[in-house]
């Protein structure tokens, strides 16, 4: 196995005439947290399912933990799908142990691990409760524990934060960080940028099934240049003529003073801008330097698709079945 437990090369997935994923290539390094970002219906879940060999790609090559099919290495993978569920009549500890057993643990070890995890996450009192009696947050925790109980090398989490309250989101963030600290590779998909910004070493932005960006947050910011927030009595035109200024956007018109967002060209120095402004007699009452946020980058790259209705992929899946004929 290489240092990249997950490698996808030129992956395409078509459902009849509809292409859900187009020529996607990326790899995930061992021990990193890799964010898989995209709007609803961008192809995230389809790609994750292809990684797990639940869905077969139409074209391209996938290598997971050194194998061409995740089926043969399933015991080394933990997967938490976006739409999660538990058997209603099963008890919490039984559920964790059952899925751990399916992923290779012996009955005794699975049971032991289930109780240990429930204790670690403060759910020991609910170990013998039926899943139908658990709150939504508790049930989600149980599902997550079932994903990690067999101590997988690779964790694939599809929208793990969805439906969790802020406290449980924090717990999950910590769990993901802990998993990485113990050497695991983690891929998680999300469209909540704050989590990705806080957790991911690298991320990939996908929209309409196509890769729009792959890299670190600094790389993304560098690509999007410097951004300044200034407050001044001067009109926008006064800034537009300064060297290195690419765009000026009025953020707030305060009557006497206005707030502007200044986009600088690649390589332009904010200090040069400040000097030029002072030399031009512009009075600045605010000068703030800021890089592009992941949210800005995401909106910019995903564009209109970011606000597209949910489950396009699913509809395409059904449509594809028809179109395949």
């Amino acid at each position: 196995m290489t240092d990249h437990p997950v490698q996808l090369e030129n992956i395409t997935k078509r459902y009849g005439a509809f292409t859900a994923v187009k020529d996607l290539t990326f790899s995930v390094a061992k021990g990193e947290i890799y964010g898989f970002l995209g709007p609803n219906g961008a192809g995230k879940t389809t790609t994750l399912r292809m990684m797990l060999d639940i869905v077969r790609p139409s074209e391209g090559r996938i290598c997971v933990l050194g194998s061409n099919s995740a089926i043969s290495v399933r015991r080394r993978i933990g997967y938490l799908p976006e739409e999660r569920g538990l058997y209603r009549k099963m008890k919490a500890a039984q559920s964790i142990a059952y899925f751990a057993q399916l992923r290779g643990l012996s009955g005794r070890d699975a049971k032991k691990k289930a109780y240990a995890l429930l204790e670690e996450f403060g759910l020991e009192d609910f170990a013998r409760s039926k899943n139908e009696a658990l709150s939504k947050g508790m049930a989600q925790k149980v599902q997550l524990l079932a994903t990690i109980a067999h101590e997988p090398e690779l964790l694939i989490l599809d929208e793990p934060f969805s439906g969790l309250d802020p406290i449980n989101q924090q717990t999950l963030e910590k769990l993901i960080a802990d998993q990485r600290a113990s050497g695991r590779t983690i891929i998680f998909s999300t469209h909540v940028m704050q989590h990705a910004e806080r957790l991911c070493d690298r991320f990939l932005i996908i929209a309409e099934g196509e890769k729009r960006f792959e890299g670190t947050l600094s790389e993304a910011r560098a690509r999007y240049g410097q951004r300044l927030h200034v407050r001044s009595t001067a009109p926008a035109a006064a800034f537009e003529v300064l060297p290195g200024v690419e765009a000026v956007r009025l953020e707030r018109n305060g009557g006497e003073e206005s707030d502007y967002r200044i986009e600088l060209a690649d390589g332009a120095d904010p200090q040069d801008f400040l000097r030029q402004a002072v030399a031009a007699g512009i009075v600045l009452t605010r000068f703030e330097q800021a890089g592009a946020t992941l949210h800005d980058i995401f909106v910019d790259l995903a564009g209109d698709e970011a606000s597209a209705p949910a489950h396009d992929q699913e509809r395409a899946f059904a449509r594809g079945a028809e179109a395949a004929e």
């Binding site: 639940i54 057993q101 489950h311």
Partner: protein
């Protein structure tokens, strides 16, 4: 394989260890015992049905009384047979002949009474009774003819009698029994002056508001018929005893099978059981297939609608998931009959000796012939065919409501052979039997039904091969539907299902 077994075990435990299943298992024998006890209790506590006879001829009331007494004695001997069947430790057959359980007829009744009646029977059985066995109690009389002297005083015609008796028959007034208690009048029998045999004679009348309990009606009819026969015999110059002797004659009659050597050819209870048991098993097969099919359906819908299936599919393949479910639910389907079968065996072993009894014959047939193996083989074949269909329906449905549109045609398919099964049973090598044998989805039922009739081997083998090929093809198509549809968030439309069946994989 471990994953398949884990899934099968979970499916099995989910149903077999469920409270509902355990309660059912417990309740079934308990309710059987309760129903039997209740029936006994009802029989023992049945109120004596009082009736009156208005006989313008003055001849037939005694005949009716005699028939009541005769039937009571028959009932008493049957009760005796049941008693010794349960109370005698080493088999009631050890008792001397009139007291050992046997067919109850006039001849036995005569022999029973000639041997000393119930007093002698009790003495004969005493050394053979189980420890703690209760004493034998004679059953209660069911009918009592109420004297009409006071009731119908002054009545001179059937019409008057009818007028007088109507309020009693409608329950507005009670009659007085011999012991002094009052009771509602159950029925009235009226025998007209010109009652007798022949077209010219008037008919006797039976009046009662109770149209469902026809025991008394039947008894009175028999009594009057016997009386007319007696008169006819007397007219011919013969005695009444001669008529009784003639009535007690029962022709010795045996049935034989031509496919057996002479010494084994006589038809026995075992042969009857061997013929009837496959039919019973076939109906059981139908019920089980329907039952477990529904389990599979609801279970798959639950996994699909609760979104468990994707987690499962990240741990096992779709094929392993299907196989695990099929094995688990098949085991559920076999558990219930197995429990009842072995429970029945255990019960029969403790209650009575196997000997020549029905249970003994059933046990001998089931375990002493290939019937059980044939049953298991065709159970799995029928199960494989229908389970795959139910599984596929579950995979394309998010709710039972979604499944309903598919279930209608499937139910017709499952139960379509039901009306024809009686024809197959009566003519196991006839056209309908042959036709059903060659329709793959009905092959298991038809072959099971014909198992005791030695159908042509080539036909059984050919139809079975066709059925297996069909099952494999069906499994392929239904498996594709399962794989392709199970992960779809919204269930496919009915017209898309065929397309899913043709696609190799998602």
């Amino acid at each position: 394989m471990k994953q398949v077994l884990l899934i099968a075990l979970r499916e099995y435990k989910q149903y077999v260890l469920s409270r509902g299943f355990l309660i059912f298992l417990l309740m079934f024998p308990v309710s059987l015992v309760a129903v039997t006890a209740a029936m006994g209790l009802v029989e023992r506590n049945k109120p004596v049905r009082a009736f009156v006879v208005y006989d313008e001829t003055g001849q037939y009331a005694d005949d009716i009384d005699r028939e009541i007494e005769r039937r009571y004695r028959f009932g008493a001997i049957r009760a005796w047979d049941d008693y010794v069947g349960a109370a005698v430790a080493d088999g009631a057959e050890a008792l001397p002949e009139p007291f050992a359980p046997a067919q109850v007829n006039d001849a036995r009744l005569k022999a029973f009474e000639a041997a000393g009646g119930f007093e002698a029977a009790r003495q004969a059985a005493a050394p053979l009774l189980r420890e703690g066995a209760p004493d034998f109690e004679l059953p209660r009389q069911q009918f009592e003819r109420v004297k009409t002297d006071a009731l119908l005083q002054g009545v001179t015609s059937l019409e008057d009698a009818e007028e007088v008796l109507r309020p009693y028959l409608l329950g507005e007034r009670d009659v007085m029994r011999a012991e002094g208690a009052t009771t509602p009048l159950f029925a009235a029998v009226m025998v007209p002056r010109d009652f007798g045999e022949g077209d010219e004679a008037a008919a006797a009348q039976y009046w009662s508001r109770n149209l469902t309990d026809n025991a008394l009606e039947d008894l009175v009819g028999n009594a009057l018929t016997s009386a007319l026969k007696r008169q006819a015999i007397a007219d011919m110059g013969l005695s009444e005893e001669a008529l009784d002797d003639v009535a007690a004659i029962s022709a010795p009659f045996n049935s034989y099978r031509p496919d057996r050597a002479a010494e084994d050819a006589q038809l026995s209870l075992k042969d009857r059981v061997e013929t009837g048991l496959p039919a019973a098993l076939t109906y059981m097969l139908l019920v089980i297939i329907f039952g477990v099919g529904n389990l599979l359906l609801t279970n798959t819908i639950e996994e699909r609608s609760n979104k468990i299936v994707e987690i499962l599919l990240s741990s096992v393949t779709a094929e392993q998931l299907m196989m695990g479910k099929l094995i688990g639910i098949a085991a559920v389907g076999l558990t219930m009959p197995a429990i009842f079968l072995f429970g029945g065996l255990a019960a029969s072993a403790t209650i009575s000796s196997a000997g020549d009894s029905f249970m003994g014959a059933a046990i001998g047939t089931l375990f002493g012939s290939p019937l059980l193996l044939i049953y298991l083989f065709y159970f799995f074949c029928a199960y494989a065919i229908f389970a795959m269909i139910f599984l596929a329906i579950g995979a394309v449905s998010n709710s039972l409501q979604d499944a309903q549109s598919y279930m209608g045609p499937v139910m017709i398919l499952v139960f379509a052979p039901l009306p024809f099964m009686i024809m197959v049973f009566q003519n196991p090598n006839g056209f309908i039997a042959t036709l059903l044998t060659w329709i793959p989805i009905y092959t298991p039922y038809a072959v099971m039904m014909r198992a005791a009739a030695d159908p042509p081997l080539w036909e059984v083998l050919g139809a079975t091969a066709l059925m297996l090929a069909f099952a494999a093809l069906l499994a392929r198509f239904m498996g594709r539907i399962f794989r392709n549809a199970i992960l779809q968030a919204s269930p496919p439309k009915a017209r898309e299902v065929w397309r899913l069946a043709r696609r190799e994989g998602v």
